[in-house]
């Protein structure tokens, strides 16, 4: 009888993950056993404390020193970039959850047919789906695991753990429910399709390298000959799965529909957390596993980056729905970030580009949560005032709110004295150093086009007359107010004094991804 030696799991290194998943499971137990009136009161501290605790553990780990080899038998790589990404995701998730915490974003009874008497009744009785808290925690856990996964198998599991709760949460909007359900369905079907591509790519790379381990795939590149078709097809299919998640250009179709239909706090979580996580995973696959192949994949990545920037910036101009416009803006930003992915070179160049991408992800995530938080506050009788024309003259009615929104838009556009400027500057600078000058030119032009539609919204808000029956600005709850306040503060501070976070990103990126 042979014995199996127990696996060595570095529990402390994995503690942030374990805390978030553990809190999710506790949340499910609360759903099962706590009386209805107590559930929300139990979920809020549980969720927020677990995220704060996980963030504290990330800091502890950073101070203790960055591990130099993968944890959990080589499944999870807790390295410098991972710790930075974890910290970013946890902060973004915390403020998204403050937003999600507000009442009346979610449907009172998801099983009731939209517009039915049953729905009406659930609304009057004040039913709430408190399941959104554990679902959000599972999604956040998946987001943490996705960029940290060191082999393709766990990366796939993390992809699903991240996506499945999001598919569900997208379909739970309280208003415009058919649109919300349609968005959930679309996201689910397209997400499943992209997962299939990811899996097929994984299988082909396994066939090529004999391992799903990223480092082993990297070493197989020089050893295997005559199987290039497997390698290239596998890498391309894997790329399809990952580019779908970040919403890069040929695979961007889901983003506007899903961002529009999902409840706005969930949109905020997706626009920030998912983007950060997916970029982390994309970088890990393309830089670690097939980093030696950059001569082969970077022309394609060039094309994807250009297409993404152009499609995002140009289609955003034609939008009339505020959330769709922000979705296309998110696509354009994914394109700007891809410019950094292409800027691969020697170790020093890689560290510069990685630091730039990490900084960009952090500042863009915070600003986009702030913008979506403001979208939740401008209300019509039927919910959020989604049509852009309803935003006309908002600056005259509530100048503070419109001013903050204009500020976030300027940060998206990358105007100096906002955090977005330094994000873009860092990424473009890294790309120039990496020899992608033409790409940077396209990026700057796309930024200018993007700035046009941001400024158009600002003009609409401040220089148009408000409609007599215009939308009302609700008094924000403490949660929403603190989200907007924090996002605005972070955008200003990082726009004036970005050095500490830039330094942090540089030291995180300095060690590069472990192999």
């Amino acid at each position: 009888m042979n014995t199996i030696t127990a696996p060595a799991i570095e529990y402390l290194q994995l503690a942030p993950l374990l805390i978030v998943f553990g809190a999710g499971i506790l949340g499910v137990l609360v759903e099962a056993f706590a009386p209805r009136y107590l559930r929300r009161a139990m979920h809020i501290p549980l969720t927020l404390l677990s995220l704060a605790g996980a963030f504290a553990l990330v800091i502890v780990q950073t101070i203790k020193g960055v591990p130099t080899k993968p944890s959990a038998m080589g499944a999870v790589a807790v390295d410098g970039p991972t710790l930075f990404i974890w910290g970013t995701i946890l902060v973004l998730a915390f403020i998204s959850l403050l937003l999600l915490n507000d009442e009346d974003h979610f449907v009172p009874a998801a099983s009731a047919v939209p517009g039915s008497a049953e729905e009406e009744r659930a609304l009057i009785e004040g039913n709430v789906h408190t399941e959104v808290y554990p679902l959000a925690l599972f999604a956040i856990g998946g987001m943490l695991l996705f960029p940290a996964s060191n082999d393709l198998l766990i990366m796939f599991v993390a992809l699903e753990v991240m996506s499945l709760p999001l598919y569900l949460l997208c379909g739970l909007a309280r208003r415009r429910r058919l649109l919300s359900q349609e968005s959930a369905m679309k996201y689910f079907l397209l997400g499943a399709f992209s997962s299939a591509f990811f899996l097929y790519g994984t299988a082909l790379l396994y066939g090529y390298a004999g391992s799903v381990d990223l480092a082993k795939i990297s070493t197989a590149l020089s050893a295997n000959v005559g199987q290039d078709a497997l390698l290239f097809t596998g890498a391309a299919l894997l790329g399809v799965g990952l580019l779908f998640k970040i919403g890069a250009a040929p695979f961007q179709a889901w983003k506007p529909d899903v961002y529009q239909g999902a409840p706005t706090p969930v949109t905020a979580l997706m626009a920030s957390g998912t983007l950060v996580a997916a970029f982390g995973a994309l970088l890990r696959v393309f830089w670690v596993a097939i980093g030696e192949l950059d001569w082969d994949w970077s022309p394609i990545m060039w094309g994807v980056a250009i297409l993404t920037m152009v499609v995002g910036a140009i289609l955003a101009i034609t939008q009339t729905d505020i959330k769709r416009m922000l979705a296309y803006s998110s696509i354009a930003h994914a394109g700007f970030l891809l410019v950094g992915v292409v800027a691969i070179g020697d170790a020093k160049q890689n560290a510069t580009a990685l630091a730039a991408i990490l900084f960009y992800l952090a500042v863009y995530g915070i600003a986009s949560i702030g913008a979506f938080a403001i979208v939740t506050m401008v209300r019509d009788a039927g919910g959020e005032a989604w049509h852009l024309s309803r935003w006309a003259g908002l600056g005259k009615r509530s100048p503070k709110l419109a001013g903050l929104f204009a500020f976030f838009l300027l940060a998206f556009a990358g105007i100096p004295l906002t955090s977005g400027f330094f994000g873009k500057y860092a990424v473009f600078q890294a790309a120039v150093a990496g020899g992608a000058v033409q790409l940077v030119v396209v990026g700057v032009v796309a930024s200018a086009v993007a700035a046009f539609f941001y400024v158009r919204v600002i003009v609409l808000m401040f220089f148009n007359d408000p409609a007599p029956d215009g939308p009302t600005v609700v008094l924000p709850s403490w949660g929403t107010a603190s989200v907007v306040g924090f996002a605005a503060l972070a955008t200003v501070v990082l726009g004036v004094f970005p050095q500490p976070v830039l330094d942090l990103a540089q030291s995180a990126a300095g060690s590069l991804f472990v192999r």
Partner: protein, 259 residues
Amino acid sequence: MGETVTFWVLAVASVAAALGLVFSRKAVYSALMLGVVMLSLAVLYAVQDAPFLAAVQIIVYTGAVMMLFLFVLMLVGVDSSDSLVETLRGQRFWAFLAGLGFAVLLALGFGNVVFAAPTGLAAVNQAGNVPSLAEAIFTRYVFAFEVTSALLITAALGAMVLAHRERAEAKATQKDLSRARFVAFGETGANPASLPGPGTYARHNAIDMPALLPDGSISQLSVNRHLARHTEELLEERSGELDASETPVAEITEGENSK
């Protein structure tokens, strides 16, 4: 040699079944085709020296998942069909073209790959197929294995959120239902008795055969309207007979037959 023969036989069978799965208009046929695909996969696994995987494929997928799938189909109703209207014009043509291009690309690409003879299987399987698999799952891949639980919890929770209905009021008892039926009888004359059962004929006793009422007329109420494919022909047949015997056909409607 045996492996090659098995592969080609199953390849044809499973691809044909997969195509049938996609193109079949009836959901039940699709489900059965899926079963064929899964069974073929199980045999392929067995041929590839993966006996555990083959057994799991049959037990879990073909046995449990497929049966659950059929149950759901039956519960939802075999008659419910999806709208097949093409909302994007020409989408199927372009999708077909893109799919074909993708298949050709893969076939041409993989046709050129030179595979070395597989090595290392014997070494891995030294302790036996199942123990080796167990070791891989519980050591190297233990974290992925554990994290999958989050996926399962999410799926269960999601099904509850989307499908579970809270009962807002107490369930109507048999007494309440009976009372309501007689109130309806008083108001509209609707039949308070239970509906007639499906009929038994000398030639057929199928569930889709409508019953005869005491006056010789056919009760359409006696069969599920989705199953009632014989009603029309029977009506014709019966009306011929009845014409011959010159007995009037009582058009039975709900409520009238209670007199």
